[in-house]
């Protein structure tokens, strides 16, 4: 089983919380967005506190940090562009996985319609990465700065990510003259306040339409990985040990953690026999 943790840490110096989360949940792959903590500092802290060593990523500046428990010979960097970083996991015994770590532009800088147009460019990056590795066992994880129901996420020419596993199993959908491959978006299961909070990010604005809670932090998987995603292990975390990441109003507490809540999920990749 491979356990992933994604967290947009909003430039907060919260290395202690990150290390505690990695320990607590036996995280194998740590992905951080908006981090001002450099790889070296994180590795020193992680490797001082854990029994298993974390390895560095390719040592060049990137928008997203990806640190793993796997030596670099098992992980091939595929690309690092402004908003997406791809890594190819070829672990012994397991079928390979293509990981795309994402941090898309904020709604502060890109309008909703611009975000939709931008998504078509991201999908060509995904296609290129999939062509490069020769398979479509792809997971995307990160801060999309869009909700699961927004056009850029759902549109065929966008991420084409939908909430229904069975439909996703069809593989692709023909629209106009083209076939568009699906992603499955399990984040739809996390709408509503069943877990005591209703998203990964909270923003209150004085406009006509106000969702308050957003699920900007998401994972999307290709149909090939549907059965390998352990759906019950997909969690939005609001606690680090005994420390709550929420304030007394039940909203993300930036004075303790980040303005985003972390996302935890696991994959049990198919074994190569």
């Amino acid at each position: 089983m491979i356990t992933f943790l994604f967290w947009n840490i909003n430039k907060k110096p919260i290395l202690n919380l990150i290390v505690q989360l990695v320990n607590e949940h036996n995280v194998d792959v740590l992905i951080l967005a908006e981090s001002n903590i450099n790889d070296r500092e994180i590795l020193i802290e992680l490797n001082n506190s854990l029994k298993i060593v974390f390895y560095p990523d390719i040592p060049i500046p990137k928008r997203l940090q990806i640190l793993t428990r796997y030596p670099s010979k098992f992980i091939t960097p595929i690309s690092d562009s402004p908003y997406i970083s791809f890594r190819h996991f070829r672990l012994p015994l397991y079928e390979p996985i293509l990981l795309g770590a994402i941090h898309l532009p904020s709604k502060l800088y890109h309008s909703e319609s611009e975000q939709v147009i931008d998504c078509t460019a991201y999908t060509s990056e995904i296609k290129r990465a999939e062509n490069n590795v020769g398979h479509t066992r792809t997971i995307l994880v990160g801060d999309f700065n869009m909700n699961p129901f927004e056009q850029g996420i759902v549109a065929a020419a966008g991420f084409h990510a939908i909430s229904d596993k069975e439909i996703t199993k069809r593989g692709c959908r023909h629209v106009g003259e083209q076939d568009y491959r699906f992603f499955y978006n399990p984040m739809w299961r996390h709408f509503g306040d069943r877990q005591g909070f209703a998203g990964t990010y909270y923003y209150d604005k004085g406009t006509q339409i106000n969702y308050y809670w957003h699920i900007f932090d998401q994972i999307l998987v290709r149909p090939e990985l549907l059965e390998e995603l352990i759906i019950d292990e997909l969690k939005i975390l609001s606690q680090v040990g005994s420390i709550s990441l929420l304030n007394s109003y039940g909203k993300p507490d930036s004075s303790v953690g980040s303005d985003h809540l972390p996302l935890l999920f696991s994959i049990e990749p198919e074994r190569r026999i």
Partner: protein
Amino acid sequence: MADKSLWGDLKSIENIKTPAAYLVEQATLLSKETGNLLVGVVETKQWGVDFRSDLIVEVPYMNNYRYSLLYVEYPLEMYPLHIYDLINKREKECASQEQFIDSLREILSSPAVHKVLATLKAQNFSST
């Protein structure tokens, strides 16, 4: 009547180079000067109502790993444009071709960019 040009003097029309063309020149130079250990690639696409050109370094020895150095967003009339330096994490507006060339020079010759190029070039030797 038919043979008489109504275009005026077409020879006086300026030969204008697009921002993408400048990036292609620099990409070609990178490939040449590193003996194709690092290959410069430029990708241009429509970006909303504007155009966007990305300058990417490809590393053949690393399974064609791609790293984006910078990108430029420009309108049909080309200037003013915005240049985004992804390594030094800076954005600049360039009002003219001259300003664009200056900014491009400043980014491409910056120590941070050279450090990245050196790291990527070194991967060639560590992966052989």
